[in-house]
Amino acid sequence: MHVRNKLGIAALGLGLGLGSLATWQTAFAETPSPLPQHRVPKSSDGDVVVAMCDGETTLEVEGVKDPSTITRDKAQAISDELLLAWRKKNPDARWDAPPPKQQLVAQANPPQPPAPASAPVKKAGETASSGADEAARRASANIQAGHTYGAFSERDEAIWKESTEQAVREGHRVFHDAKAVGGTVAISCDMCHPDASNTHPETYPKYQVQLGRVALLRDMINWCIENPTRGKPLADDDPRMKAMEAYIYAQRKGVKLEYGKH
């Protein structure tokens, strides 16, 4: 019980986005390699110990035995203290402080781009749409770096893209293979949905009249597996289900999300 409580507090997360990114590859592997664990020392008095997501820093909360009694303000104080400890240990790391309040207010009226009609139209050479100015501006920009989302390179981006495409390709395979999807009558998804057409993932969740309840895309995938292809429904976290969702969503890039649409 004690251990579970401790984990519960750690799972509050407290918004410290310092964790490493799990890639799609990891998420989709059938036998994922064990993730690194943060071994937390026990308090001699039985106090609650909070662990930080850097895998090293911990904090014993003096006099608190039951983590559920910690208020939000107290939790914020714990979080601040942990972060302070981390920044002392990592004086060179650049940590973005949360934006001041007035900036948030300003988002209500975001700056508008200039009207395209006012720009002179050039037929050839360097034009506004070729983005030369924008590229030059970006190259000389003073960009924040030093944390996960400030430190990635083009190579990282290429890896992310490839990992994503791998998930989509796996979905394409399952979608086009009656056996892989577990069907028993040789019917595969693409036979009625070429290029995942007419799967309209952007309309879920919605009330599915024929089911008499609200359905998600995966409910409909499972419905098709059970009925037209006469297979067994997949678990929500079945790698094939995830892959098919990845493929189906990838085919609808740019389509407006309209949950509930009929």
């Binding site: 009558v185 019917i187 693409d190 070429p194 057409s197 007419n198 037209p228």
Partner: protein, 374 residues
């Protein structure tokens, strides 16, 4: 249910069929009398006249060029697997055969629109032939890519003969084309016959080539049409649409323009095609095009290229095995053009009339779908 007792549904359909068949045989004056009477009854009950578009079609049948000269029926795209593997597609084809056999009067013949088999296997084609033997009317066979690319048509030809042929029936010249030839994509990739077949069977498989009648087929067509008077009504059967609708799914014939050029000199030309599994209508110049329903499954409308004259069918309900599928009938009119009836299972039938296409959609528009495609 007790033997000899008809269900309410059966009785309803029998009454309905005989009512409309009777109407078709009426002359104009008798029709007006009946129409007035039924409208009166409907008004008295506070109802609108059911099947309004069919009543209108009978009123027009009084003009000679729009009178049906004869009818033929069609079944298409059954995509049979071996019956031990998949019984559903088998039951669908049996249902279609029952539908056609129930037609009274019987059609002059039945067009089978291609894709009898799913993977071109001997057992699949043999099973299809066995089931089609149950039809009372004679059958005219057309080949589809699913029948062909396992053994390049060897078994199909053994069962049904050459895929490209013509015949004359009651003054109309019929041509059946082999329009699903593909340029060799398999030798270079060292594919087995089954790999080749499965590639072609994937509608969204971009590795395969585009369909074509091909130079030899076009030459044959040219010679076949040479001897004909240009006033002879012409009806052409092709598995793929003989125009360019959507290339990625081979809703497409690559040499469609060349084939259309051969058909253009004729006064009344209709192309009936399979492959697209949906209500599909088009007119290009003097040529009218009609698609066929599948008995196995409906295809979604392609994301682009849908002919503007097509009134899309309502969305198929995935919860019904049969919705969006069906068979149908083609009435050849005195004018030589055809009215096309889509017998959608579990739905009201939809008729696309030649006058609708000929007037560019101004007359006789078929009923609109309630929900558009996504």
């Amino acid at each position: 249910m007790r033997k000899g007792v008809k269900s309410i549904e059966t009785k309803h359909y029998e009454e309905r069929d005989s009512f409309f068949d009777g109407l078709r045989r009426l002359d104009r004056r008798a029709f007006m009398r009946i129409a007035g009477l039924s409208a009166g009854i409907a008004a008295a009950r506070g109802l609108v006249t059911p099947q309004g578009f069919q009543l209108i079609s009978v009123a027009e049948a009084a003009t000679p060029s729009a009178k049906p000269k004869f009818s033929f029926a069609y079944i298409s795209d059954s995509h049979l697997y071996k019956k031990e593997l998949n019984d559903r597609f088998v039951r669908s084809l049996l249902k279609a055969v029952d539908d056609i056999n129930r037609l009274d009067p019987q059609p002059d013949f039945v067009l089978y629109g291609g894709d009898l088999a799913q993977l071109g296997q001997k057992e699949e084609l043999d099973l299809g032939k066995e089931i089609l033997k149950g039809l009372k009317a004679p059958v005219k066979m057309m080949v589809g890519e699913h029948d062909w690319f396992l053994d390049m048509g060897e078994h199909w030809r053994g069962l049904f003969g050459e895929p490209q042929y013509s015949f004359d029936h009651k003054g109309v010249h019929f041509v059946t084309l082999m329009s699903v030839n593909e340029k060799d994509f398999w030798t270079e990739r060292k594919m087995t016959p089954m790999e080749r077949m499965q590639t072609v069977a994937g509608l969204d498989n971009g590795i395969q080539s585009r369909f074509e009648v091909g130079p030899a087929g076009r030459e044959w067509l040219k010679r076949d049409l040479e001897k004909l008077n240009k006033n002879t009504p012409l009806v052409v059967f092709s598995h793929s649409p003989l125009y360019k609708y959507y290339k990625p799914w081979n809703f497409w014939t690559d040499d469609a323009d060349e084939v259309q050029a051969l058909l253009r000199p004729f006064k009344a030309v209709t192309v009936i095609h399979g492959h697209t599994h949906q209500v599909l209508s088009n007119q290009i110049g003097n040529i009218q095009f009609h698609g066929l329903l599948s008995t196995a499954w409906p295809w979604p409308y392609a994301p682009e290229g849908l002919p503007s004259l097509t009134v899309p069918m309502n969305r198929p309900d995935p919860f019904s095995n049969f919705d969006g599928c069906g068979d149908g009938r083609i009435d050849v009119l005195e004018s030589g053009l055809v009215d096309k009836l889509y017998n959608l299972w579990d739905r009201n039938p939809v008729t696309v009339k030649s006058s609708y296409l000929a007037t560019g959609g101004k007359q006789d528009r078929p009923p609109t779908a309630k929900l558009p495609p996504y």
